[in-house]
């Protein structure tokens, strides 16, 4: 007997799906913002910081890359209260996902920073820039350009990973879906709809990353002909 799909009871819960989607978008954006900041700081500390900084950074990165996100989430939500720190489910979710992304993106940023030739850094220093200014004006953009595909790939994983926050009942899309499923008994339909929403979100985010990339790595278009002409040869010798 073939199963007959019926989306009506699920779609009747559209308002809940929408608010779940919005919650997921908020959770993702906040985690991405905080996580990337942590990741960049950890990478700079590791590559260009004092010895103790490199140790702190490496310890953090290893700790968070070698434990499951779910366990990190449980530790922050169920564990921290024993140390007198009580977080709401949503706060714990943001912290855990940010720290997790921070650790993964730190490794990606680090690979980018190390890919920039030392001579670029020396040229910046020789001009009187501080090490931090060299990082900011000379190194970051070319480094980002190299790692951009892996970085945005990681961000997609983070967006999808927010669904794990449902395990501590943080409000987001998967939790909303689970509730709908348990009340409508339409498991297949519910989770198909969730999948469709997630896939739409990742495509929208990837489009945004593409736009950001266009802006970050923008270059003015050379005036027609000038580039080709100068490469042909030494007519400038006289100038």
């Amino acid at each position: 007997m073939a199963y007959e799909m019926n989306f009506t009871p699920v779609l009747a819960r559209t308002p809940e799906l929408i608010s779940g989607t919005i919650d997921t978008l908020i959770l993702s954006s906040q985690s991405i913002g905080i996580g990337l900041t942590i990741g960049l700081a950890a990478a700079l500390l590791r590559v260009d910081g004092p010895k103790w900084g490199a140790v702190v950074s490496a310890t953090y990165v290893e700790a968070f890359r070698n434990t499951p996100l779910l366990v990190q989430l449980f530790l922050l939500f169920f564990g921290l209260p024993y140390m007198g720190i009580r977080l709401t489910a949503n706060e714990a979710a943001i912290f855990a996902i940010s720290l997790n992304l921070g650790a993964y993106s730190a490794e990606i940023f680090r690979a980018g920073l190390l890919a920039i030739p030392k001579t670029q850094i020396e040229a910046g220093l020789a001009l009187g820039l501080s090490r931090l200014q060299v990082m900011r004006y000379v190194v970051i953009i070319p480094a980002l350009r190299i790692i951009y595909p892996s970085l945005t790939g990681q961000l997609t994983l983070t967006l999808l990973g927010t669904s794990i926050a449902s395990a501590i009942s943080a409000t987001e899309l998967t939790l909303a879906g689970a509730k709908i499923e348990s009340q409508t008994f339409r498991s297949l339909e519910t989770f198909l709809v969730l999948a469709a929403i997630y896939i739409t979100m990742t495509f929208v985010f990837r489009f945004l990353y593409w736009l950001v990339g266009l802006w970050l790595f923008r270059r003015r278009v050379p005036k027609t002909g000038s580039a080709a002409a100068t490469l042909t040869l030494p007519r400038e010798v006289e100038s």
Partner: protein
């Protein structure tokens, strides 16, 4: 007071001594060519002067900034000491104009609206006034090197260091860069240039320093050094085939 004074500079990598007690004084307006065999320590000395390499002993004083093992005042010193590298090292993501104005803006707080005048000024000194909006990868090697010189000039350095700035260039592009440097020399810029271009050293440099095995082996007026070398090592270096 000399523009640059190096006293008893010693540096080693691990336990391999590379500079074994360098003494050198450069007066304002001097153009000093540094010649010597590969591995004699020319680049290392140059890099010590603006603090890119730490050293173990001795002092370096450049335009009033004293540099020793403590490496204090490095940035103040670098503001006044320009350096041009063999591999140009332009910043690929910035246009020529942005390459030039980056340090003046960030380090000296140059107002945005004064940037283009500065760009025009330094680019015209290297003969590339029309390239302000180009990107480094749109330029030939010789042009990139001249932009690198312009970028350094934009900080209004009192001393400029050049490390084999034509070595990466095809012979036909070497001339344009050497010509730019010769014009700077005429304008009175104090310069120390490591070079393998003997003819250029002889013509443009007021003094020439011959480095050998990590020491200043022989130095003097360029004309003297090239016409009457005293040590056999220098004789052999300048004209090995005359033996």
């Amino acid at each position: 007071m000399p523009a640059l004074r190096i006293e008893n500079l010693k540096k080693s990598y691990g336990n391999v001594p590379v500079l074994k007690g360098i003494n050198l004084a450069v007066e304002n307006g001097d153009v000093v060519a540094v010649i010597g065999r590969s591995g004699s320590g020319k680049s290392t000395m140059l890099r010590c002067i603006n603090g890119l390499e730490p050293f173990q002993e001795g002092t370096i004083e450049v335009v009033g900034h004293k540099l020793d093992q403590s490496r204090a005042n490095l940035r103040e010193l670098r503001k006044e000491v320009g350096m041009v590298f063999q591999s140009y090292n332009l910043f690929p993501h910035l246009s020529v104009a942005e390459n030039i104005t980056l340090a003046p803006r960030v380090v000296k707080g140059l107002p945005r609206d004064e940037g283009s005048a500065l760009v025009r000024e330094v680019l015209s000194r290297v003969g590339l006034a029309e390239k302000a909006d180009a990107y480094p990868d749109e330029l030939s090697g010789g042009q990139q090197q001249r932009v690198a010189i312009a970028r350094s000039l934009a900080m209004k350095p009192k001393v400029m260091l050049f490390d084999e700035v034509t070595s990466a260039l095809d012979p036909e592009l070497t001339g344009e860069v050497l010509k730019t440097i010769a014009q700077l020399a005429e304008a009175g810029m104090t310069m120390v240039l490591v070079t393998h271009e003997m003819g250029f050293a002889r013509r443009v440099a007021t003094r020439t320093v011959f480095m050998h095995q990590g020491t200043v082996w022989e130095e003097g007026k360029s004309e003297e050094i090239f016409t009457h070398p005293k040590t056999p090592e220098l004789k052999n270096f300048i004209a090995p085939d005359l033996k």
